[in-house]
């Protein structure tokens, strides 16, 4: 199957199953929170408790962090952390998704491309709930929400697209080489520190600025903060945006090709 055919098959499988995808995601979440008293509320409680911990550490305990361009450090951090958490969780979930679904795939003919996608969808739902909490925190802190906030959905879409491409590659590779999950776990931990999640890179350091330009996570993180807190500027984001989309589209296409080339071998390897 050619490049175009692979992409077309994967995209149409996802598109034709879009409703099913979110309903499967709903049961995945339900299964995660099964047996807990708060159930679906955990999607709000989790980020809220996480934020509470960061607030305690940085505002009460360490009393560290100066305002970043006029925004309290804790607010700046919260927007970044929730954005990072979404990408991190969705990527780690997606790369195990096909392996975790092996009981189904072995017995039913099922459009396999929607397996990593439904895990991304589950994390997407959680993320939307978290963003409600984020807006609550921003407003409660007295910071103003920027007028560019209407561009936030674009960044949510961009990060979701990036994760989906990654998920297609990683879920496939993970079936063949289970070690991959451990590697990606470590890689993401490293990426956490070279992305502007907890600290802002100094503008004087040329190497760091280059890494930030090439780093797709930095584009997304800055995008979230710009649209929510600072105001968004087209020319500032143009180069990094082009780099981000080049990486994302290349990854998505590679994911489709790899997925279609190896999908018939999956079942025998699961």
């Amino acid at each position: 199957m050619g490049v175009f055919g692979s992409v077309k098959t994967v995209v149409s499988e996802i598109w034709n199953n879009k409703v099913r995808l979110f309903r499967l995601a709903k049961y995945e979440l339900k299964s995660q929170h099964g047996g807990t008293f708060f159930g679906f509320l955990w999607n709000f409680l989790n980020p809220a408790l996480q934020i509470l911990v960061y607030w305690f550490v940085f505002s009460v305990g360490l009393r560290r962090g100066d305002d970043i361009d006029g925004v309290p450090y804790i607010v700046w951090l919260v927007v970044g952390i929730i954005c990072w958490y979404y990408m991190n969780q969705a990527m780690l979930g997606a790369d195990m998704s096909i392996l975790n679904f092996s009981d189904v795939l072995k017995r039913m003919s099922f459009p396999i491309a929607i397996v990593p996608t439904k895990t991304v969808a589950a994390n997407f739902i959680t993320h939307i709930c978290s963003m409600v909490i984020v807006f609550g925190v921003v407003l409660a802190s007295g910071a103003k929400i920027s007028s560019s906030v209407w561009l936030l959905p674009y960044y949510i879409f961009a990060s979701t697209f990036f994760i989906t491409g990654y998920g297609l590659i990683a879920s496939t590779v993970n079936v063949l080489f289970r070690d991959f999950h451990n590697f990606s776990n470590t890689a993401l931990r490293f990426l956490f520190f070279i992305s502007p999640v907890m600290w802002e890179p100094s503008k004087d350091n040329g190497l760091l600025m280059l890494i930030m330009k090439l780093n797709p996570f930095a584009y997304i993180l800055n995008g979230y903060r710009d649209t929510i807190l600072y105001g968004w500027n087209f020319s500032e984001n143009l180069t990094t945006g082009l780099i981000f989309w080049a990486i994302s589209i290349a990854m998505f296409i590679a994911g489709c090709i790899l997925h279609m080339r190896l999908r018939h071998k999956f079942i025998d390897l699961l």
Binding site: Q32, G34, G35, V104, M108, S109, F177, D268
Partner: protein
């Protein structure tokens, strides 16, 4: 498998060939090292040692027929069943299937944290039902599974029998043209087995093609129109249940008494065993 062939075959006349397997061979690669696996997966035509699960099998199944598959453990019955279902593909040979195929399975697609009702909705979703269809059959499934008040409890609290019954009940409400029953009936007590058999009978009555994989030879004798015997991936023979079941049972008994050396090399000849045991 050519998925373009999949269309509802209700319009086809009875007796039409709906499953045609020609010269199917299935090899499973046996990778011994990581490097070999890498090479085998990424580079075409790499030689790796393989296990031959199916060896040059040709067969056809007609619409409305109930075909039994018998063979010892590891003879390739389930591999053949999953190739017909389209879950896995043959290494060599072609399969052409007219109509929608589905496998009846009790155990897969159940989530222990979810309640019985949620599991019904979840598994139906996996099987491709939409919301409206699920609502329509939900009560039917609950009645068929017959697990009473436990239906709203998480499946992890179920006994294994209850779990399988629920799984079977969900799976039995699919409506394919060709139904594969792979050891799925031996899940409950005798009264549930009877109910399950009645359900499969219902499928049979409505003119569906059924492929029956089982070790329960008595059930097979009364149920199937035709039985196919495979041994070590090769076709031993096909015929009416009377022609196949007795020789097969005789062979199975002899097999029990064989040494490991004999077991490896034995390839039963249908005629010989028919003369011996019929």
């Amino acid at each position: 498998m050519n998925t373009d062939n999949i269309l509802k075959n209700e319009s086809l006349p009875a007796g039409e060939d709906v499953v045609v397997c020609s010269h199917i061979t299935k090899d499973y690669p046996l990778y011994s090292t990581f490097g070999e696996k890498l090479k085998g997966l990424l580079i075409k035509n790499t030689r790796v040692s393989t296990f031959r699960a199916l060896d040059d099998i040709s067969l056809t199944m007609k619409k409305g027929e109930c075909v039994g598959l018998v063979g010892l453990n590891g003879s390739g019955k389930s591999t053949l069943a999953s190739i017909i279902t389209g879950i896995t593909t043959p290494t060599k040979g072609t399969v052409s299937v007219k109509g929608e195929v589905s496998m009846l399975c009790a155990s897969s697609g159940m989530r222990p944290q979810l309640s019985g009702v949620d599991n019904i909705r979840f598994k139906c979703l996996l099987l491709g039902f939409n919301e409206k269809q699920i609502k329509e059959i939900e009560q039917d499934i609950i009645d068929f599974a017959d697990i009473g008040i436990h239906i709203n409890q998480p499946v992890k609290t179920y006994s294994s029998g209850m779990r399988s019954r629920l799984g079977f009940a969900i799976s039995a409400h699919i409506n394919p043209d060709i139904l594969i029953v792979d050891e799925a009936l031996a899940v409950g007590d005798s009264s549930f087995t009877e109910k399950s058999l009645a359900k499969v009978d219902e499928f049979k009555e409505s003119g569906k093609t059924i492929v029956f994989v089982s070790h329960a030879v008595t059930t097979m004798t009364s149920f199937c129109d035709r039985v196919i015997w495979i041994n070590q991936g090769k076709l031993v023979g096909a015929g009416t249940p009377d022609e196949i079941i007795k020789p097969y049972c005789g062979f199975a008994r002899e097999f029990n008494g064989m040494t490991n050396e004999q077991r490896k090399s034995i390839m039963p000849d249908l005629k010989e065993y028919q003369e011996k045991y019929c």
